[in-house]
Symmetry: C4
Subunit: 281 residues, 4 copies
């Protein structure tokens, strides 16, 4: 592809590797990133297991430093290789990248503080970056469009479920009272949702006959109305599929190239200019 190169060559190369997944080196970079993200998420998890942390604290800390330094370098590389760095910094993924990189540095500043635990958990935000890596998978976008189309109906459904829970929960609160664990209306509503969604922990359970009768009604309701969101999404999938088959000719493949100027992604394979800012690709 003939391209106009306003940036230095190595910056362009870096941009291609980091932001795009169409070249071999770009793909490799994405795979390495993917593995490192998973690895770092596992690290954070293991750290929270007391027995494990006591034995391997030093190893975990060292590995965490390795990961953090890699992500720091990657963050800097992203800033350098893009034309409008501020746009990246304040984009959703830019913020995620930043927040998930700083915890280790902050842990020295905030040492001994209470907020530290929460700050350290920020590292888990890295998991969102995986979503970015897979967002161009055709399957995911099909799922997304079906869910988007049925969004309004699902909101109405959740709305009805919540109103039902408030009413049923209050009734159970009046019927059962404190002994069975229904100590307040919010707790009764919590129990109602536990029952309606068929989770059923059993930490709170009705003891009276009337309470068990009402519980039975709630269970059958919950068992039945699960059919509603299922019906909505299925109807959307069925329609979608037909639509897809009928109109496949109308669609083109979008690649993972990102505009070097505005970072917009999802250009047509035959595009020479960014659809968003008109910059040459």
């Amino acid at each position: 592809m003939e391209e106009y190169k306003p940036q230095s060559k190595w910056k362009n190369k870096l941009h291609e590797i980091i932001y795009e997944a169409d070249t071999p080196s770009g793909k490799l970079f994405d795979i390495v990133l993917f593995i490192l993200i998973i690895f770092s998420v596992v690290l954070v998890m293991l750290e929270s297991v007391d027995e494990f942390d006591q034995h391997y604290h030093k190893t975990l800390l060292t590995l965490e430093w390795v990961v953090t330094i890699f992500f720091t370098l990657e963050y800097i590389a992203r800033l350098i290789s893009i034309k409008k760095p501020w746009k990246y910094v304040f984009s959703f993924y830019g913020i995620i990248d930043f927040l998930s990189t700083i915890p280790l540095y902050l842990s020295y500043i905030l040492a001994g503080s209470q907020v530290l635990l929460a700050v350290r958990a920020f590292r888990l935000l890295r998991i969102f970056r995986i979503l970015k890596l897979v967002k161009f998978m055709g399957e995911a976008s099909q799922l997304q469009s079906a869910l988007k189309a049925s969004r309004a109906k699902i909101v109405v459904f959740i709305y009805v479920v919540l109103i039902l829970s408030v009413i049923m929960g209050t009734l159970m609160y009046l019927i059962e009272g404190d002994e069975a664990g229904f100590t307040s209306i919010p707790r009764s509503i919590y129990w109602t949702i536990v029952t309606l969604t068929t989770v059923g922990y059993g930490d709170i359970a009705p003891q009276t006959n009337l309470g068990q009768l009402l519980a039975t009604v709630i269970m059958i309701l919950g068992y039945g109305i699960i059919a509603v969101p299922t019906g909505i999404v299925t109807a959307e999938f069925t329609r979608n599929k037909k639509g897809n088959e009928a109109s496949n000719k109308g669609t083109v493949h979008l690649n993972t190239q990102a505009c070097p100027s505005c970072s917009a992604e999802g250009h047509r394979d035959d595009a020479t200019h960014c659809y968003n800012c008109g910059h040459l690709l």
Copy 2:
């Protein structure tokens, strides 16, 4: 819209604000109402949390008075602005409005009485009013029509589930007996429904081998027959969707205007007379 005005102008204006949602002031009124309803429901919930009520009893009571006075005024305004007040008073939403407004007044009459708790819970009926506010959302009415169409099948389904529960529950009662918590047939049926709907509290659980074997059968049954209501509703949704797409031309938009004489709602945008009583809109 040119209208014949038999009522005084301000009554008409009030009617427009309270009963309709097409004018800016009508919309604003609905939004304020919505927020107040949610606020008052949260109030009632917090009141039931003992620790919270002990600390903020006075604040909660004051806020409850504010809300109650607003709803009282709104109820009076509804009575004044409508032509046939009795029709409103004895309509479903009229009764809801009344019952959910009086508890605070009654609490002074019934002070110390046992019924008080139940009466206070009446305030939660306000939540039904939200349903009224959203009832013209197109999505909700689509859901409703799909559910209505599959109602007969769902009744048959629940019927079969209940018969199955009675038979299985009795069997479990005979097999397990008192030690495992199966103290009577109704309680065994309660357990069967808990299992069949895959809720599974675990407050009652089979202990014998035969009981666990039968429980396994019930679980797999419950796991399998959930497919039935789902299938019914989905088939209805799929059909509905096709119907909608085919016949969209045959439908018109209904607005939220209510007839000033008979309160009938859902007039065509181009209607000049009430479809129900013929009164000029």
Copy 3:
């Protein structure tokens, strides 16, 4: 309907009332029967509740005698009014009718015996008779045909679920051992099915990390494969619906008349001979 009458007139009349639901008296009989069945089922249930039985033992026994005598008379009437009584006696519903009528008589013969409890539960078999009363409801038969059509697929599905349960259950038995409640392979399989069907009692729950990891896999499996029976039944319903709409002209209404000779039911409205034995209707 012009009919050849080989039986005495009153026997024919009786047959019409008991076996058919097309005449007013036949309908009335069915409704009375329906109420009595429900009533007698509730009686049996209440009897099993100890507190209730202690207070009202005499009343319950008297009412049970009333119900039993009615069902005895009905059984005799069925025998008299039909031409080939043996066919009825050994039919499915004939056996149900017999078994659900004798328990009270047997309770005097078996007094004090252990089997008594089980025998008394036989009265609950009456609930099957309700199924007979509703079996010609169009909705029920639609449900039935959809289920029949997907029977083979559902059997394969249950088969796979069982094999999966055996394998996963054995693995959990090896991993968890006795402390966590996985005391034998059958009990582990029981737990696996409890988990796979998303019932989750919690009476047995994995304690080790490896066990919890495997449990997670089983849960996600169970959560996912519920889609399979749902998909099967839904596809059948969708197809069925289309078929129904297309071929409604090809169907005729079947009435509830039973052949006086062979008891076959479901004759065409315009039938003059039994489709099964050729006897005049």
Copy 4:
């Protein structure tokens, strides 16, 4: 069928009985095998029940020897009757057959060893052999193809569920802490999956108000997103069904004959040569 017979006649006959299910003796062999597999699986299970094993240890061991000897002979017969035994030995089912036959022999070599328990469980691998016996059932292959077609979407779905679980689990870990059982992030994630899949053991349950609120969100999420795999598989089934009906003419019946040379199965009824190696059938 006229056939070229390079092997001795009895070997050919043996091959027909063991590997094919189209002749009466072949069918009989499969049925006997099926019963023996089920029988041996039940044996292994009973052995793990302590009370049972103590009483009938000798009987169980004898029966296990009978079963093992049968499977040993069968394994040898399979080796003899096939032309390229190594292909069978290293095929999936060849390995299954071997591993599920040796445990009893190994138990004398490994006597007293710790691995023994796991080795004995290998006998349960026999259950996989049942899958082989039913693999040509048309229904199973339809299920399989529908699942295969929706595989990619289901992977994306499980992926999203896992990411959601990690995020929600970490949040719950930060909110609830040790007292409620959320002792580490992996355990919190375990709880999240228990909740999201609506299993709900109740061994770990949130105690704080904030925790219960978040749990409510997770439950409703889980209750809602079950619709997604269901929708995917259903859409696939619906499409599949249509495809099947349209193209039934394009399909031929495949029989269970296996090539005597390469063991490839699923030949056309009118085939005279193996589709895989060209050997005469």
